[in-house]
Symmetry: C2
Subunit: 335 residues, 2 copies
Amino acid sequence: MSVRIGKQTVKLENAPVITETASIVGVKEGKGPLKDTFDRILTDDTLGEKSWEKSESALQRQTALLALEKARLKQSDINYILAGDLLNQCVGAHYSVRDLDIPFLGLYGACSTMTESMSVGGMMVDGGYADYAMCLTSSHFCSSERQFRNPLEYGGQRTPSAQWTVTGAGCAVLSSKGSGPRITYVTTGKVIDKGVTDISNMGAAMAPAAIDTLIAHFRDTGARPDDYDMIATGDLGIIGSDILEELMLDEGFDIRENHRDCGKMIYEIEEQDVHAGGSGCGCCGSVFCGYIYRELKRHNLKKVLLMATGALMNPMVVEQGESIPAIAHAIVIEN
Amino acid sequence: MSVRIGKQTVKLENAPVITETASIVGVKEGKGPLKDTFDRILTDDTLGEKSWEKSESALQRQTALLALEKARLKQSDINYILAGDLLNQCVGAHYSVRDLDIPFLGLYGACSTMTESMSVGGMMVDGGYADYAMCLTSSHFCSSERQFRNPLEYGGQRTPSAQWTVTGAGCAVLSSKGSGPRITYVTTGKVIDKGVTDISNMGAAMAPAAIDTLIAHFRDTGARPDDYDMIATGDLGIIGSDILEELMLDEGFDIRENHRDCGKMIYEIEEQDVHAGGSGCGCCGSVFCGYIYRELKRHNLKKVLLMATGALMNPMVVEQGESIPAIAHAIVIEN
C-alpha cells in the first residue's frame, strides 16, 4: 500500500525490510578508511578474467551470490533482480545475471542506479508484487576509464576535478517480511541540466540534480535536515559536495552537520591520490551495502536519507557539444 | 493491489488503463503497411538536428509531448516517466526528458524496453504509486547503425539475417482511472543465453528468451494461445519468429494462428529490402502505440499478449568472444 506525498515522493506503508546486503570492492578501495566494512576485498581486480568488462560482470555476479548466501535465500526465493551499471548497454549486469534463474529488470541511472533500484524494488515489495527483490549495481575503474575517458595504457593525466571510479559492487536484498532497516520513503528525481560541459567535473554536473531532489524531498515530506542522522549522497565528491552544501544553505537547509558523501568516505582522498573523490555506481553501492548498512544494523544510525546521483551523458554527445544532464533519487531508510 | 501468480507473473487487480498513446516514425516506416496507423510520419529523419543522436532525442521528446497533448494532460499531471533506448548510456531518453518537468526512471532492456516500461509503470499505477505514468522508447536506424555496426558512410553490406532498426518512437500513458484497454498481467523475463554469437542474427539470439517467457506466462496463468486474439512479439523478425513458432509447437503450444511480430508488420519485407524485418525499441514502441492500440480501441482486438524482446550485448563484448544474452517481458492487455 502506498501514500503519495507531494509531487515526487511516496511513503511506503509496508516499508520493505533490507534484510541483507553484500559488498565487494577492489584492491585500492580495500586500503581505504572503510576497508573493515566490506564483505570481501579483491586481491586481483581482474578477477582472473581476460577483459575489464568480464571482470566487472564477475564482480557483480559474486556480489549477488554472496548476498543470497548471507541472506540464506535460494535464487528461487527471489522474485526480481533489478540491476544496472555504467557500461554501454549495461553489459556488466546482463552478463552477471545470465547465470541466475531470477526474473530481471534492467535499469540505467548511471551512478544513481543503487537508489533507483532500491526505489523501484522498494515499491514492488511494498505493493506485494514481490516477496524478495535484489538491488544490484557495480562499477570498475578500468572498464570505466576505457569507456568514458582513455584506456589505461594511454596514461592520460587526470584533472584536479576528476573523480576515481570505484571498483566495487553492492547488492541489497529487500523483503516484505522480517526485521531490520526499512525503506519508508522514495523521492524520485527529475533530469536536471544546468549546462555543465566539463566531462572531468562530474561533481559539478550532478550537484544541481542532488539539490533539486533534496529540496523536493523536504518539501514533500516536511522533514528537515536534522531529522536524519545522515544524509548520504552517492558520489558528488569534494567539489559536488561543496556545491550541494552551499546551495542548500541558500535554500534555507543547513545539511553541513550530517551530510556525508560516499565518494569522500571510501578513500583517503589525498593519500590515495583520487583527486575529487570516488564515483561510479559501485561507490554508493558498496558504501551503502558495507558501512552504512552495518551502522544501521548496529543502531548507530537510526534514520538515513540515501541519495545516489548520476551524470547521464556519454562521451560522444559531449563531443557533439552537449551539456551533461544528471539525476538523483533519494530513499529514506529507518530502523 | 496485486496477486502473484506462479513464479514470474503478477495479476494487476486494479488493471491500469492505457489512456492514450502516441507514435511517430521515420520516412521509410511511413511507406510501410502500417503507415495509416501512426500519429505522425517524419519527412526528414534528421529532424533538423546535427547528429543522429540528437535526432533520436528530438524524436522521443516529440512523441512524449504528442502523447501528453492527445491525452489532454499537463506535465504536472504525470507522476513518472519511464524511458529508455538503445544508445550508449541511454542518451536518447536522457536528452529527450531533460526539458520535461516529470520524475524520471531510466530503464535498459534493449528492444524489450517498451514492455519493460509498461510492466514497471503498470505495477506503479496499479499499486497506487502513480496516478499517471508515461512509458516511452525510441530507436533510430542511423544512430543504431553507427553504434552497433558501421557508420552509414562506410556502406557495409548487410547479411540476409540482419534486421533493419526502426526509426520510430512510442509513448503509452497509463492511468489509474478511466476506460480503455487495460494491463491485466505482467510476466517478467529472465536473461537467457543459448550461445548465439552472430551479431547479425538478433532474431536467433532473442527467440530463446521469447520462448522462455511465453512458456512461463502460460504456465503461471494457465492461459492457452487461443485465449489471445494476438500474441505480438516485438522484433524477432522472420528468422526469430520462425524459431519461436516452431519451438513453441515442440513445447505443446501452437501459436502460429495468432502470432504476429511487429518487426514483420512494419515493413513490406521484400519490397522495402529490410532482409529479416524490423528491430529496435521503437519497433514494438511505434507498432503497439500505433496499430495495436488502435485495434484495441476499435474493439477489433480484445485480448493481446504483447512481448518485446531485447538482445543485451554490446559490440565490444561480442568482439571479446561473448555470446548474446537476451530477455523478453510480456504483458496482457484487455479491453
